[in-house]
Amino acid sequence: MNFELSDEQTLLAETIKRFVATHYNFDTRAKIMASPGGFSTDVWAAIAEMGLLGLPFAEVHGGFGGSTVDVMMVMEAIGEGLLVEPYLATVGLGGRFIARAGSKAQQERILPALIEGKHTLAFAHTEPGARYDLRQVGLKARRQGEGWVLDGDKAMVLHGGSADTLVVSARTAGGDTDAAGITLFLVSRTAPSVTVKESRTIDNLRTADIRFSGVRVGPDALLGREGEGYPLIEEVVDYATALVCAEAVGAIRYANEATLEYLKTRRQFGVPIGSFQALQHRMVEMMISYEQARSMAYLACVKIDSAEAAERRHVISAAKIKIADACRHVSQESVQLHGGMGMTEELKVSHTFRRLTMLAQTFGDAEHHLERFAATDTVSHG
């Protein structure tokens, strides 16, 4: 049992922290959010330069072959700094799909470019009405000649409006909610008959509704095996969920630090408001939520690399339950303890509130994962 971070991991954490502190302050971030693409290509290049995009990928593609705990460090920093760049969509989802199931040609085409910061990805999966059910895929892919034709709608595709390549799930057999018969394709966002409608999210990321109207792709677009996409989707989404847990831990840490600082400096009735026991105990509960959430994020990231599928599902859902509850608890309390100031656009706390609110629901809210946690309760933890 050892919770120590390696020297490399500590160095990594310090590097990112320093970068965020010097290049990603509140005003810079506001400008980035308002820019047409919704994120900064300069920041993205810098992230690539620091080696963060290559962290989990194999050395043969230019990566570092790092562990999920390594990526966890990046995600915590992203959460703390509220970065809006498409790291989760590109590294956590799209890149993971290609690393796990891509052909040699697909990996060679995309991963080196991804790692250099020249290629971004998004996962076009969720459909209107699907909620968090990963099996629900109604977008149809039918064979035409050597290739395929895609027809259907995807909703809420994180960073789908800016991604170079979309990983698209499609139904090639079975009914709309069957696990079997789901197939994955790589589709260029700028391919003909792909229509993208972009939105800003409440937490200032970008999301897209994407329509595929008779989109033709060649045989080289097939990712993994026909009809067998579901286990891969579940595995990659579990991975991305572990990363989201780590991002939430970073954001919670910021919310707690900012709130604690406010309790120490804000004066009312002639004293710092942190001298009031009613507020002290609430702050302590926020700190406890943070420690418990952090434990579960650690567990999730460690188990991604070591657990069998059954245990992985169970632990990831356990982690997301705790993270979702902690996100809500800390975000709400941080605004409450900041008083009116916590409500304002000009304070980072309100932005963190919004991000935490969304993270609580990303890849399934607490209720979704409570159901899955109970359904996967066959694993012994002795």
Binding site: M1, N2, L263, M283, M287, I288, Q292, A374
Partner: protein
Amino acid sequence: MDLTFTDAELAFRDELRAWFADHPATDPPGRDEDALYAWRRDYQRQMAADGWAAVHWPVEYGGRGATLTQSAIFFEELSRAGAPLPANVLGLLLAGPTIMVWGTPEQKERHLHPILTAEEIWCQGFSEPEAGSDLASLKTRAVRSNGHYIVTGQKIWTTLAHYADWIFCLVRTDAKTDKRQDGISFLLIDMKTPGITVRPIYLMDGGHEVNEVFFDEVKVPAENLVHEEGKGWTVAKYLLGHERMGTGRIGVSKRELVRLKEVAAAARKDGKSLLDDPRFRDRLSRVEVELMALEITNLRFLDQLRRGNKPPGAEVSLLKIKGTEIQQSLTELMMQAAGPFAQAFRPVETDPGFDRFTAALAPRYCNLRKATIYAGSNEIQRNIISKLTLGL
């Protein structure tokens, strides 16, 4: 980062498991408290004989010099084996380690071995009627006279005083200090000394585990002072860190959780298992997840303590708060699982078929309300974290 046990930790666990397998505890003898306590005492004796009674004690005193992680493994395995918590729990966890650090060579020689073997049971004389959470306001006074301290006053909530041979006490040796803490001393008192009266306090679960202890001009040899006169608060702070360390009870809660699932799986609601009832299951799952998280949090803190080589600080307050909340939640869910059957408490006439397990659920629920009150109420723990960790 590596969340698996090291080879040394696994070897320790396996050796312990093998010992428990070779020395299974007999079934607890019904609900007679004296018989139950004798059963626990006997089991501790067996453990002590093979060096398992106090793994965290140094080898020279009959322990195994276990690391904090190994100690955590010990309590986990103890629960897993269904073995009873050692009878002399306050001696092993509190009196012993305190005497080792602050006691004189004579005190170590005199007391440590009988603690280990449960020959002499210990209790803790801290709380007083007017000094609960505000411990430093204690009034029991000790006046030095001719090589003795003459102790007069009252202690309350004294767990195990009715079985104890010794009590470690905080007493006021100087009432005139600027800081109240400075006038407090730490004394070891033989419970057989004339002038000591133990009076039981019965709790709402019908049980007798705590007492009032009265001291009427009790003559205590001065060599029973631990550390210096007036420095008892330093000793007490050291001891309280250890006290809270044990209050997380993670192993016990894990076993309770398994039992709760068994009870809920057997209970029917609308023809289905209660365990499959989403409203019940969600509550249970949230407690289970908190417990999973606390297990990791605990190990993280132990790892920090090991690396920092620091005594336990405010971190243990967090473990106490969360651990006791989880314990209480589990008893609450047990009651819910039993439903209407949780009402029966004791047979009016002798009835061999009486369902003792279910009947114990409501008393246990009542009894466990103590967990968020004792060892420094959870509100006091929040004050400690607020001051020491958050700097408020």
